[in-house]
Amino acid sequence: MSFLDLSKREVHVKIVYYGPGRGGKTTNLLHIHEAMTDAVRGQMVSIDTKQDRTLFFDFLPLSIGKIFGFDIRIQLFTVPGQVIYNATRKLVLKGVDGVAFVADSQVSQREKNIESLENLRDNLADIGVDISKIPLVLQFNKQDLAAEGIPLLSEADMVSDLNSVYNVPCFNASALTGEGVFETLREISKTTVKSVARKLMPSLTSGMT
C-alpha cells in the first residue's frame, strides 16, 4: 500500500520491477538512474537482508513534483530473479502499488518467463493482492539480441504466453541500449500513481489547504 505522509505532505508510491533472473530488471533501473538528473533521482542503495548472505534491491526514489500540494515520490525496486530468493521477492512485494514485469525475449527463456509471472501472481496472492487488480505493465526485454542472431520469441508469442489473461500494456525493449525503458517506466508510473491517487483521493483533498 502506498504511504501517505500528511505531515511532510508526501505520497510514496512503490513500483516493483519483477521478472525472471537475468532478465534485465537491474539494467532497467541502472539505465533510469543514469539518465535522470540528480535533482530528480535519489541514490541507489543496497539493503541487507537478515539472511546469511546480503542481497540488495535497487531503490530509486523519484520526486515528480507537487500535485495538489503533495509531493509524489515514486520508489522503484527490483527483486532478485533467482528462484531461491523467493522469500526476498515476497518481502519486496509487500506494499507494492504497481509492477513492471520484465520478460526475457529469448526463446530459451520462454518457460522462465511464464514461471516468473505465475510466481508473481502467487506471491501477490499471498499478501492479499489480486494480480488482475494491480497496475501491471509488461516489458519484452533484450530485443537487441536479435541483431546477434539469437532466436527471440515473437511479440505474438510473448503476448500469448504472458498477456492473454491480463491484457495490460506491453513494450518491446532493450534495457542495454535504453530502448523502451522509459516508455515502460512512464506507463507503469502513470497507471500506478493514478491508481494510488484514486485510493487516496479523500485524504488528498482533505489535506489540501
Binding site: V40, T54, I72, A175, L176, G178, K190, K194, M201
Partner: protein, 261 residues
C-alpha cells in the same frame, strides 16, 4: 464535495499526473548518459559455470603463499600521495559490487576483479589504495573458487573495502576517518573472512568425504562378482553385528511381553 466534484477532482489529478510524468520521463533520448559497456556487465549472459564447490577453494590468503603474499604490515605505515577525487573513479567499482552482491557468479566476479585491476593501475602512488586492491583481489579469487558457497563475510569485506577506498582516494581533510583505523577494520574483517572460509572449507570437505564413503559402499554392494577377501570379511562382520542386534531386540520384546502378562 458531491460526486460531480469528485469526478472533476480525479480527472484533474489524473491529468496533472500525466503531465508531471510526461515531463519527467523523457523517452530514451535522455538515456544517452548510460554507458552500454557498463550495462553489458549486468545484462550479458553469464559464462557456463562449474557447480559451486567450496572444497576446491585453495586460496592463497596472503600470508600462506609467497607468490600471492600481500604484505599487510606495510599498509598501516605506508605514506601516500593521494588526492584524486574518488567519486567518479569508484563508481564503476560500486556498480560491479552491487551486481556481485545481487548474484555471485563468474561473470560478476570477473567484472569486479577487472574494476579492481583498473583502479589498481590508476592509483599506483596511493599505498593505502594499493593494499586495499590487493586484498580485494585475493577475495575475488576466493569468491571465484567458492562462488555462492563463499563466506558472507567476503561481501561484507568487499563493501568495507569500497568504503575505505572512498576515504583513501579523497584529499586529506580533518573530518575524515583515520586511514589507519580503516585499515585495521579491513584487516580484522579480512582475517574473520579467512577463518570463516577455512571453517566452511573444512565442513565441505567433511561432507564430501562422507559422500565419497557412501558412494564407495554403494559401489561395493552393487558389485557381485568376486568381492575381495577384505570386503567379504567386513560384510560378514557387519552381518554378525546385525544378527546380534536383532537377537537382542527379540529378547527385549519377549521380556516386555512377559512383563505385560
Amino acid at each position: 464535495m458531491n460526486s460531480g466534484d469528485d469526478k472533476t477532482g480525479i480527472e484533474n489529478i489524473e491529468s496533472m499526473i500525466d503531465q508531471a510524468i510526461d515531463d519527467l520521463f523523457v523517452p530514451s533520448g535522455g538515456a544517452s548518459k548510460a554507458d552500454p559497456a557498463q550495462m553489458a556487465k549486468v545484462e550479458a549472459e553469464p559464462p557456463q559455470e562449474e557447480p559451486d564447490e567450496a572444497v576446491d577453494m585453495d586460496i592463497a590468503w596472503g600470508n600462506d603463499d609467497k607468490e600471492e603474499a600481500v604484505d599487510f604490515s606495510e599498509v598501516v605505515e605506508a605514506g601516500d600521495s593521494e588526492g584524486a577525487p574518488s567519486l567518479d573513479i569508484l563508481r564503476p567499482l560500486h556498480e560491479a559490487l552491487l551486481s556481485l552482491d545481487w548474484e555471485i557468479n563468474l561473470h560478476n566476479i570477473d567484472a569486479l576483479d577487472e574494476e579492481y585491476k583498473r583502479l589498481g593501475a590508476m592509483t599506483q602512488d596511493n599505498m593505502h589504495a594499493q593494499n586495499a586492491v590487493k586484498m580485494a583481489s585475493v577475495c575475488c579469487k576466493y569468491l571465484r573458487a567458492s562462488k555462492s558457497l563463499a563466506s558472507p563475510l567476503a561481501l561484507k569485506f568487499l563493501k568495507t573495502t569500497l568504503d575505505s577506498l572512498d576515504i583513501f582516494l579523497r584529499p586529506p581533510a580533518p573530518n575524515l576517518p583515520s586511514k589507519d583505523a580503516l585499515v585495521n577494520e579491513m584487516m580484522g574483517l579480512y582475517n574473520e573472512m579467512k577463518l570463516d572460509a577455512n571453517r566452511l572449507r573444512a565442513a565441505a570437505l567433511k561432507k564430501r568425504e562422507a559422500k565419497g564413503f557412501t558412494t564407495t559402499q554403494q559401489k561395493s554392494a552393487a558389485t557381485t562378482a568376486a568381492p575381495s577377501s577384505t570386503s567379504s570379511a567386513d560384510l560378514r562382520s557387519e552381518l554378525a553385528h546385525v544378527k546380534r542386534t536383532l537377537r537382542d531386540l527379540v529378547e527385549l520384546v519377549d521380556k516386555i511381553e512377559r512383563a505385560l502378562v
